[in-house]
């Protein structure tokens, strides 16, 4: 796609220009070509974030997703393109990251307002003073939750013995982000301040897991004694 802009001397092909330049042209010259390219380039990103967030929040119908896509673009253009005009492209991918956050907030705001309307804003339910809600099976204080807390403490103490060196703090964080939070090695590598590739994170996880497993599997003192006592314990092969 070819178009003229500025004084009509410069010829630009929109699909090949940088995001920074595209954003600048959309907010400044407002040429139709620039806006078509902007919508084309960000459609997949915006639609993906909306589809996932809306699915989780309960309504990912085509109509809702398309309405929210349009709403996101309008949000980006709100206040006379303030966001586009004032955005500082400090590093590659910054604008795409920003669009993701704006999109997620548009979806959340939409579902929040829908939910409020459904429940009827301002209607409060009166609870008895001695009302005690039934505890869920995994609520804080339940046997399951206490068992998990004990397991976390046990693993943390083993982990402390496995970790040495200057990267101890970062590696501990990586371990918990993977096993407790459930982030993949790739997601962890993408996080700010980790400073590792996906392979690097995988390698750290593999090493820590191996060391930890060996420590956790070590026989307790009494078991070792039993093994050495002979007939009452296991007989070595």
């Amino acid at each position: 796609m070819l178009t003229l802009h500025g004084g009509g001397e410069e010829v630009e092909s929109y699909p090949s220009i940088s995001i920074e330049e595209l954003v600048r042209q959309c907010s400044a010259s407002r040429s139709p070509g620039a806006w078509e390219e902007f919508v084309r380039r960000f459609h997949r990103l915006i639609a993906t974030v909306i589809l996932r967030t809306a699915s989780r929040l309960g309504d990912s119908s085509k109509q809702t997703v398309d309405d929210l896509i349009q709403e996101t673009y309008l949000k980006l253009c709100a206040d006379d393109f303030r966001i586009l005009r004032s955005f500082e492209h400090q590093y590659p991918g910054a604008f795409s990251g920003y669009v993701k956050v704006v999109t997620a907030n548009v979806v959340r705001d939409y579902f929040k307002s829908t939910h409020t309307k459904k429940r009827g804003a301002g209607n409060l339910e009166q609870l008895e003073e001695d009302f005690v809600p039934a505890a869920a099976e995994d609520s804080p204080g339940s046997p399951k939750s206490i068992e998990r807390e004990i397991l976390i403490q046990e693993i943390a103490s083993h982990l402390q013995l496995c970790m040495t060196g200057p990267d101890q703090e970062r590696n501990t964080r990586i371990f918990w982000l993977h096993y407790r939070v459930g982030l993949s090695a790739r997601n962890i590598a993408d996080l700010p301040g980790i400073g590792l590739t996906t392979k690097g994170v995988e390698s750290i996880l593999l090493r820590i897991t191996k060391e930890l497993r060996e420590r956790m599997a070590e026989p307790k003192a009494e078991v070792s004694e039993q093994l050495q006592r002979g007939p009452e314990g296991f007989v070595p092969a």
């Binding site: 956050v101 703090e169 982000l177 459930g182 700010p192 026989p219």
Partner: protein, 359 residues
């Protein structure tokens, strides 16, 4: 006869069993030997079971529910910014928090899942079939976005204008457009006035907030002075409880740690009219070393007050910690005092106290 399996062999067996990662054994015959030995050796079977159990334990670390927000959790929007890589400050502390907090951890995971660049084939299909994926839909939207506050068309210069041009300027449709433009400008001016008004109000509110902050600072200083005075008096003479004077009225309460089961066993702090401060003595489950943080949190989870201090030796001896709170903080409600001790990662909760305030 083969000796017992070593950790390397167990590792190879586990990897070959689960298919989790490449098997690094260069010799498949050796792995077969290892398997044969395992079949006949009870000790190695037990070792193998212990390793499998350790792996199963790691899988139990994931929470089954999203957890509840605590007083030290950062605001929720942080996790979107971190997941998108646009946080404008150091994220290390936040990530360390998420790694230890089920509530924040689940928000971070959700955000990472929502922002992932790769699409599943199902997502690809759904998005490809959206009406918004068509060129026509996108073209219409692009035109709509372009028209938002489109710049006004530039008129030709006066020398190019002819009488017919002037007449054409007076054509009814042009007048109508001009009226519409003037209307828009007037609306814009009205909006501008409203904006100016809002800015003034915002400045007034900011000034009021500053005044309130100043007032809170003064009251905190007063509390700190009274706390220090109380601690000094307890160091010099352990027995006397602060007595109400003609100037300062103090209500007191002693609390044991732990969650309260049921309303009946909830400790109550009744604050009579004219009382200035509440002295709350916390019985400690253990003596913490170093700095301690006290957080006063309402039943709704709103943090009302917080302080960090090193417990004085006199209180350590009695396994207790006293705090003085201004009663204006304690409107009738249920409260928790959360004690945290300092660790390398921040503050770790080690005791909770629950009570109800009545007037």
């Amino acid at each position: 006869m083969k000796l017992h399996l070593n950790n390397k062999e167990i590792d190879e067996l586990l990897q070959s069993n689960t298919g989790d990662g490449p098997v690094k054994s260069a010799n498949p015959e050796h792995l077969e030997d290892v398997r044969r030995h395992l079949k006949d050796c009870a000790t190695c079977q037990m070792m193998m079971r212990a390793h499998e159990h350790a792996i199963e334990s790691l899988a139990l670390l994931k929470p089954t529910s999203p957890g509840t927000k605590g007083p030290i959790c950062p605001p929720d929007y942080i996790w979107l910014d971190i997941a998108a890589g646009i946080l404008d400050r150091d994220a290390e502390n936040d990530l360390s928090h998420a790694a230890q907090c089920d509530y924040c951890g689940s928000l971070l995971r959700q955000a990472k899942e929502d922002f992932a660049d790769e699409l599943t084939s199902e997502e690809e299909t759904i998005i490809a079939n959206l009406p918004s994926s068509t060129t026509a839909w996108q073209g219409r939207l692009a035109a709509k976005l372009q028209d938002i506050q489109a710049p006004l068309e530039v008129l030709p210069s006066p020398k190019d204008r002819s009488p017919s041009f002037v007449r054409s300027l007076l054509a009814p449709w042009r007048l109508a457009v001009a009226a519409a433009i003037i209307g828009l400008i007037l609306l814009g001016l009205r909006d501008h006035r409203r904006t100016a008004d809002l800015i003034t109000r915002n400045q007034q509110a900011t000034a009021e907030i500053q005044q309130l902050k100043q007032s809170v600072f003064q009251q905190n200083t007063q509390i700190a002075e009274l706390t220090a005075e109380s601690k000094r008096s307890s160091t010099l003479a352990p027995a006397p409880e602060p007595q109400p004077t003609s100037h300062v009225q103090i209500a007191s309460l002693v609390l044991d740690p732990g969650l309260t089961r049921g309303i009946a066993s909830l400790k109550r702090l009744t604050i009579p009219a004219g009382t200035n401060f509440a002295k709350i003595t916390l019985r400690l489950p253990e003596n913490p070393d170093g700095v301690v943080r006290e957080d006063l949190v309402t039943a709704e989870g709103q943090k009302k007050w917080s302080q960090e201090l090193t417990p004085p030796e006199s209180e350590k001896k009695t396994n207790s910690l006293s705090l003085l709170l201004p009663v204006y903080l304690l409107i009738p409600n249920d409260y928790q005092i959360i004690l945290g001790r300092q660790t390398s990662d921040g503050f770790e909760r080690f005791a909770t106290y629950t009570f109800r305030v009545t007037r």
